[in-house]
């Protein structure tokens, strides 16, 4: 994949070369029932001070892709391709190297803050542990810094919170603690995998503010994995749409939402309920069928069987991810949608 004009982000024109550069990343799982090709040749970049959203439905490979970035997948996974973090290659790196990178250069926040925190230790001990391991701080300094971090992620009375156990905190607070732990080592890249999915909207709004803040104030590259197009519309600078392990479309947020070119993206945007205008329009767009599970990469468009525009070409040749006609973003489709553009209202 060559870097095209789409890689220059008009909203952050000053940003330099990407911190995270992923090229042709593929993940293959060996299971009892045979192979599963979960991620197929994904390429992406994330820059400092930029939020990249990776969107797709369950089974599209977005979480597996995120875990593959720093070797978090189980042993039955084979990862190929390249993941460069500010020049350092992570695919094939040793366990010790990866351990040094995780937490200090790339950190994760997961969906379930209930299960990601250890219930038998205080919050303070868990946040401090990250600092002691990664920053080599002593106990006192680690606790001081932990209080600063809780403050950074918008937790009131941080000193008091440090003495509490996870079960004493609400879901939103736990997620803030997880984010505090993730940024404790000053990572350049923060990967947030469905960080607000388990939370109420009023709480979600606060967590999204924290992510925005980390991007703007710490200049982190944030990779946000989500299925929620409302969240993407709210916070993303650039978007990458995944389907069945592949990137089917990517581009700048406003452009992609205003003029989606891949029929899957069009379908996703049309499926989200909005206010009905009159009784005749009381229908949401449905995408018939299911996401396929592939044993190996196939030389075809894997969305073809669910696509209204598919023809013989789509069923026999894989479309390359390239710049769409009359548009500044990239799409992998032989027959891109909407030359006239899609309404955004």
């Amino acid at each position: 994949m060559t870097i095209t004009t789409t890689d220059v982000d008009p909203w952050h024109p000053g940003s330099g070369s990407p911190l995270l550069k992923v090229r042709d990343l593929s993940v293959d799982f060996r299971t009892e029932d045979g192979h599963v090709c979960a991620v197929d040749q994904v390429s992406l970049e994330a820059r400092a001070g930029e939020l990249l959203a990776v969107v797709g439905e369950s089974g599209c490979g977005k979480s597996v892709m995120a875990m593959a970035l720093s070797g978090l997948l189980p042993r039955n996974a084979t990862v190929t391709g390249s993941v460069q973090l500010a020049g350092q290659e992570l695919v094939g790196a040793s366990k010790a190297e990866l351990q040094r990178v995780r937490g200090s250069r790339i950190a994760y926040v997961f969906q379930e803050p209930m299960t990601s925190l250890n219930p038998v230790f205080t919050v303070g001990r868990q946040v401090a542990e990250v600092l002691r391991v990664h920053e080599g701080m002593d106990r006192r300094h680690a606790l001081d810094r932990a209080a600063e971090l809780l403050d950074l992620v918008g937790i009131a009375n941080p000193r008091e919170r440090l003495r509490q156990y996870p079960h004493q905190l609400s879901g939103g607070l736990r997620q803030r603690v997880m984010i505090a732990m993730a940024v404790a080592g000053n990572p350049e890249v923060l990967v947030a995998d469905e960080p607000t999915t388990a939370l109420d909207v009023t709480v979600q709004a606060g967590i999204l503010d924290v992510l925005r803040d980390l991007r703007d104030r710490l200049g982190a590259a944030v990779v946000l994995i989500t299925h929620d197009l409302g969240v993407v519309a709210d916070i993303a600078d650039r978007v990458l749409v995944m389907y069945a392990g592949r990137v089917v479309e990517r581009g700048e947020i406003h452009e992609l939402f205003a003029r989606p070119r891949h029929h899957y993206t069009v379908g996703l945007l049309g499926a989200v309920p909005t206010a009905r205008i009159d009784e005749d329009e009381r229908r949401l767009r449905e995408i018939p069928g299911l996401v396929p599970v592939l044993e190996s990469p196939e030389d075809r468009c894997t969305f073809a069987e669910r696509c209204p525009a598919a023809d013989e070409t789509c069923r026999t040749r894989q479309p390359p991810l390239e710049r769409a006609p009359q548009s500044s973003h990239q799409v992998a489709c032989w027959h891109p949608a909407g030359t006239g553009g899609k309404e955004t209202a």
Binding site: T202, Q204, A236, P273, L284, R285
Partner: protein, 341 residues
């Protein structure tokens, strides 16, 4: 509630209370579902909305209060006396994977309510076939087991089971929350079609405001076991009166970046207080950026006004009042509100 409303409502709930030990899940809630309408019950987790659904279906017994189904008080009825009324109210749950018996075939799952109501076997299969067709499934699916179906198909089976006894009220408790958007769309379309064609009333319990705006006729907003506001869909979405409704709506992002980034958003401080020791006065006062002394001590009554009712001291009888989205600078008044843009 007027006497007229009492006679026509499919379901009417008055002063409903449900305590689970020390937990005040529902604390004096009244609402009415009219024939053929879609009434959305919205609120965050812990608001008590699912408990209301379970009380209306009488899966659980109320601590006090009245639940009238078609004018008959079923709240205190014995299980036996309740049976005939079970046909008129059905429920669909969030997770079809755990609400369908994995050892039963789809046909038997859907027929079970009929069996329990004593419908003879010969009449059951024709009805099962009919209702499966209504939910858009082929007759052959009756022989399959739930694990052979996708999540969306399973939810269709749950809906078929709920509708097989031709209920007058369908309680749908987060029916699409466990589904992907594209599947969610087909289930929402299906519910809309069925509701329009069959004419049942629907109590749609959800936290998904986009789905509410899409299909509800009226909306009840719950906060900590009580009703904060009731109104027509237009009123709730265009002119919400309760500060909580205003904050809730402002927090739900719309999937359109240009519009979303121009919206005023209110971030409420903190989270839902404990249901064990709910706040005095107005339950929302601990998070309300507009709260006054009165709000901390006096419980606001749910007052009826044009197009809806609201329980807030700050709203005048003609429905006018402040909007938390119009507050001047965010950080200032109380650090309770943070605003962007």
């Amino acid at each position: 509630m007027t006497a007229e409303a009492t006679t026509t409502a499919v379901c009417e709930v008055v002063d409903l209370v449900k305590h689970f030990g020390p937990v005040h899940a529902v604390d004096g809630l009244s609402l009415r579902v009219d024939p053929g309408e879609v009434l959305a019950l919205v609120g965050e987790s812990g608001s008590g909305k699912s408990t209301v659904g379970r009380l209306i279906v009488r899966l659980i017994d109320p601590t006090s209060g009245t639940v009238r189904i078609g004018g008959v008080d079923v709240g205190s009825m014995s299980r036996r006396a309740l049976r005939p009324h079970r046909r008129t109210v059905s429920i669909v749950f969030q997770d079809p994977a755990s609400s369908l018996d994995p050892r039963m075939r789809v046909g038997d799952i859907v027929a079970e309510p009929l069996r329990l109501h004593g419908v003879p076997r010969s009449d059951r299969s024709a009805r099962v076939r009919e209702v499966l067709e209504q939910v858009g499934m082929r007759a052959g699916v009756a022989e399959r087991y739930p694990h052979e179906l996708s999540g969306g198909q399973r939810q269709r089976v749950s809906i078929a089971r709920a509708l097989v006894s031709r209920p007058r009220l369908l309680v749908a408790d987060e029916p699409t929350s466990a589904l992907d958007v594209s599947v969610q769309a087909s289930v929402l379309n299906l519910l809309t079609d069925l509701q329009r064609d069959l004419g049942f009333a629907c109590l749609f319990i959800t936290h998904d405001l986009a789905a509410v705006e899409y299909l509800a006729d009226r909306v009840v907003v719950m906060y900590l076991g009580r009703v904060a506001e009731v109104g027509t869909r237009e009123l709730i979405f265009e002119h919400p009166r309760h500060p909580y409704t205003q904050a809730l709506l402002s927090a739900a992002p719309v999937p359109d970046p240009s519009r979303q980034r121009k919206r005023t958003r209110v971030v409420l401080s903190g989270e839902l207080p404990s249901q064990i020791d709910p706040p005095s006065g107005c339950r929302f006062h601990t998070r309300c950026p507009l709260a006054e002394d009165r709000c901390r001590t006096e419980v606001p009554a749910l007052r009826e006004m044009s197009h809806g009712s609201v329980a807030c001291h700050l709203v005048a009888d003609d429905g006018t009042g402040p909007d938390v989205r119009d507050l001047p600078d965010p950080t200032q008044p109380s650090r309770l509100v943070e605003r962007r843009r």
